[in-house]
């Protein structure tokens, strides 16, 4: 990593009411990327528009590259990262799909690209069609994938993403996901850290051994030899780096808490799970609604807890198994589907942990597709179901919940 740019004046910490998209843009500004290449797509466009504003008003000193599509955006940030720059791009839905081949390239080159993906259904009936299917469609691309619950978490997760992706032990691209509409467009009071605090938080990255970099006139090659067994070696190293990213994410979260006073639990956050007999697992903005319901159910004497999935790739197998083991019933709420499995993808992957968790009722719920609300009564239904299943009553393994139906 090159020495920190010095140009923009350090800005003090402030608290402002801004959208989730604006929070992402402020976080990127504070992390001082050298190259940004992004193509607009709803509901992400506000991220790039806000960054363009920062660039024009002089608070963001970087190369802003206007591209003709997402495929070029991903190829450009991949190339810039292999040249040693800190980079950023953002997309959503079809934009993500349109850069898929380039994403595989970025991951294979171990280029630490930080990308925001504002979750939106592909195909989308209309533009702001929230749903995690876009992220799920790229789950095996070799990228790290993390999910935010609130606007503040978007801010903090983008900053943490740089610290994680560029860590010498990791060197992997990372996708920061958040729900279209619910988080992209809704505003909340958000703490914007000071420039100095973010500079300090990211400073250890500059003290690492320098990453090799492609530079004109230097005879370095990236991905330029090693077919056959060399390829196998790279694959194995990539998988091991993904495994290391789990503990590293917990570590980064703890370091962030020490610097900024906010902690999120790393790979997962456990909410009121200590003595819980029933546990609900979910992710994204639905977690906020679930917290409210869990609190009410706790007041009514029901021992139910909540696990928020913050990291989807790598999948937090060990921490999930530890927290889910020994419960009486487990529910999983998905905002997308696993084609070919008749269930949601988070449910599918937690089901794969059955040997570690033990055989207890494991109920899946598909909800909030196509920008539909996940209201409190849905979560209440899940808790009622889990309690019934724990008593030995039969419940279907997977149910679809539809708002207003």
């Amino acid at each position: 990593m090159e020495a920190q740019r010095t140009k923009p004046d350090p800005t003090p910490e402030q608290r402002r009411v801004i959208t989730g998209n604006a929070a992402a843009a402020h976080a990127v500004r504070l992390c001082r990327p050298g190259v940004i290449a992004t193509y607009p797509i709803t509901p992400q466009s506000e991220v790039i528009e806000t960054l363009e504003n920062f660039h024009v008003n002089g608070t963001l000193d970087c190369e802003m590259i206007a591209v003709e599509g997402e495929n070029s955006a991903q190829n450009i940030v991949c190339a810039a990262a292999t040249a040693g720059e800190r980079v950023f791009t953002a997309t959503s839905s079809y934009g993500l799909v349109f850069m898929y081949d380039a994403m595989l390239q970025t991951a294979g080159y171990r280029a630490p690209v930080v990308m925001v993906n504002v979750n939106r259904e592909p195909p989308g009936i209309h533009a702001v069609c929230s749903g995690q299917q876009d992220m799920i469609a790229t789950r095996d691309s070799g990228w790290l994938q993390v999910i935010a619950e609130t606007g503040q978490e978007i801010m903090d997760l983008v900053i943490m993403a740089y610290r994680l992706a560029e860590d010498d032990d990791i060197q992997l691209p990372i996708m920061v996901n958040y729900d279209g509409y619910y988080l992209s467009y809704l505003a909340e009071a958000i703490s914007i850290p000071s420039q100095q605090a973010v500079d300090d938080f990211l400073a250890p990255l500059c003290a690492q051994p320098a990453r090799p970099a492609l530079r004109p006139g230097t005879g370095m090659g990236a991905g330029a030899h090693g077919l056959g067994t060399g390829f196998v070696e790279l694959r194995r190293k990539h998988l091991l780096a993904m495994e290391r990213a789990k503990d590293k994410f917990d570590e980064v979260d703890a370091l962030f808490a020490a610097d900024f006073g906010r902690t999120y639990g790393g790979q997962i956050e456990c909410y009121r799970t200590d003595d819980a007999e029933l546990v609900l697992v979910t992710s994204g903005s639905a977690v906020g609604t679930a917290r409210t319901v869990i609190d009410a159910q706790r007041d009514a004497g029901i021992k139910v807890g909540l696990v928020k999935l913050r990291m989807f790739r790598p999948f937090p197998r060990q921490r999930l198994a530890a927290v889910l083991h020994g419960r009486q019933a487990i529910g999983v709420l998905d905002r997308s589907v696993a084609f070919g499995w008749d269930c949601g993808p988070i449910y599918q992957e937690i089901r794969a942990l059955t040997p570690e968790i033990g055989i207890v009722p494991l109920l899946g719920y598909i909800d909030g597709l196509a920008n539909m609300d996940i209201p409190k009564p849905h979560i209440e239904t899940i808790v009622t179901d889990l309690a019934a299943a724990a008593r030995g009553e039969s419940r279907p393994p997977v149910s679809w919940l539809v708002a207003g139906a």
Binding site: G108, Y109, R110, D168, Q171, P212, G219, M220, G221, A222, G223, A224, H225, G226, L227, G228, T229, G230, F231, V232, E233, L234, R236, K237, L240, A241
Partner: protein, 109 residues
């Protein structure tokens, strides 16, 4: 089956770094695409108008500008025939070549 240790796995010595970095002055992936060929292009020099279409279209970029026509480097020509197809004056013909030549239409050329 035990997990493969990347330090001892076959090919483990290929990359000294975590990612696919190499010293390009020594280790560049180099494929002699000429070994793939079942047909080779022959330039009929008298018919060539020096328009450069073959040079622009060749996917392996093994055609380079010469004095009066565009010579082809057969070490890398993979025999795809695109140059012959694109030449406006049919100055390039494809003829059977290589171990896999099988008497298909090109062999009768």
């Amino acid at each position: 089956m035990a997990l493969v240790d990347p330090k001892t796995a076959p090919g483990a010595a290929t990359f000294p770094t975590e990612a696919s970095w190499s010293d390009a002055s020594k280790d560049l992936l180099c494929l002699t695409t000429g070994s793939w060929r079942t047909e080779k292009p022959i330039v009929v020099v008298e018919k060539c108008t020096y328009c450069g279409q073959c040079y622009l279209f060749c996917p392996t970029q093994c055609i380079t500008p010469g004095e009066t026509y565009f010579p082809i480097d057969l070490t890398y020509c993979k025999g795809c025939g695109i140059c012959a197809k694109e030449c406006p004056t049919q100055a390039i013909v494809m003829v059977a070549d290589g171990d896999e030549a099988d008497g298909s239409p090109a062999d009768q050329t």
